[in-house]
C-alpha cells in the first residue's frame, strides 16, 4: 500500500511517500499505531492525532475508516488552501 505524507507530516516522517505493508491494520488509525510502534520519526509525526487528517484512495475519510483494499492512504494536517 502506498502511504503519502503532506506538509509538516511529510517533514517529520522524512518522506513524501512510502510503500508499506499494512499487516493487520484494518483502519487508518491502526496503521498509524503500527507505524508509531516501528520507528521514532512516526512518533514525532503522529504525536497530536487531533491535527491529523486522512484520505483513503484520494477521498477525505475518518481515521476509523477501513483501509482494506486501499491502494493509497495519505496523512496530512488540516488543509489551508484558498
Amino acid at each position: 500500500m502506498q502511504v503519502l505524507y503532506f506538509a509538516w507530516l511529510r517533514e517529520r516522517v522524512g518522506a513524501a511517500s512510502e510503500e508499506i505493508d499494512p499487516g493487520g491494520a484494518a483502519t487508518a488509525r491502526e496503521l498509524v499505531e503500527r507505524l508509531v510502534a516501528s520507528e521514532p520519526r512516526y512518533g514525532a509525526a503522529f504525536a497530536d492525532m487531533a491535527a491529523v487528517r486522512v484520505a483513503v484512495d484520494q477521498e477525505m475519510c475518518d481515521l476509523d475508516t477501513s483501509i482494506a483494499g486501499a491502494r493509497e492512504v495519505a496523512f496530512f494536517p488540516p488543509v489551508t488552501g484558498g
Binding site: 506538509a7 509538516w8 484520505a55 484520494q58 488543509v79 489551508t80 484558498g82
Partner: protein
C-alpha cells in the same frame, strides 16, 4: 474545463469572458480572487509555498464544483487554484460562477470558497524573514463551511 490546478497565474478577464459567452441567458457572473496577503496572523511574510496533493486536489475540486451545480441553477462554474512559490500580492485562487440571477451566482461562489477552504488538499508554508512556518487551519473556515451542511 471546470477545474485547473496549476503553477501559472491565470487571466481573470479571459476566464470571465469565456464563461459569460457559454450561454445567452447568463445575467450574473460572480468572481472570487484570493490573493497572498503581506500581513498574516503571525506577522508580515516575504512569500509562501503552497503544497498540494496531485490527483486528489483535482478530484476534490471537481466534486465541489459538481455539488455547487447540483445545488444552484448555474450556467457555468470555473475553479483555478495555484500551487508552488507565491509572493505577497500574487493571485492564489479564482472561483467563477455564472447564473441567470445574481443570488444563485453569489451563493454558489461563497459555497465553493467555503468548501474549498476546508476540503481541498492544499497546505501553506509562510516565509517569515527566512523562518518558514506551516499555517494553522482557521476555526472560522470550519464554521463558514458548517452553514452549508444539510
Amino acid at each position: 474545463m471546470t477545474v485547473s490546478v496549476q503553477r501559472e497565474d491565470f487571466d481573470i478577464a479571459a476566464e470571465i469572458a469565456r464563461l459569460s459567452a457559454a450561454d445567452a441567458d447568463i445575467g450574473a457572473v460572480v468572481s472570487f480572487t484570493g490573493l497572498v496577503r503581506r500581513m498574516t496572523a503571525d506577522g508580515p511574510i516575504t512569500g509562501m509555498e503552497l503544497e498540494h496533493y496531485p490527483g486528489m486536489t483535482e478530484r476534490a475540486l471537481e466534486a465541489i464544483a459538481a455539488e455547487a451545480e447540483a445545488r444552484w441553477p448555474l450556467q457555468g462554474v470555473r475553479v483555478i487554484h495555484r500551487y508552488g512559490a507565491l509572493e505577497p500580492g500574487e493571485r492564489i485562487v479564482l472561483v467563477l460562477t455564472a447564473s441567470r440571477h445574481r443570488q444563485a451566482a453569489f451563493e454558489a461562489a461563497e459555497f465553493l470558497m467555503d468548501y474549498l477552504k476546508t476540503s481541498a488538499p492544499f497546505w501553506k508554508k509562510e516565509d517569515h524573514a527566512g523562518e518558514t512556518r506551516w499555517v494553522d487551519a482557521r476555526d472560522a473556515d470550519d464554521s463558514a463551511m458548517a452553514r452549508w451542511k444539510r
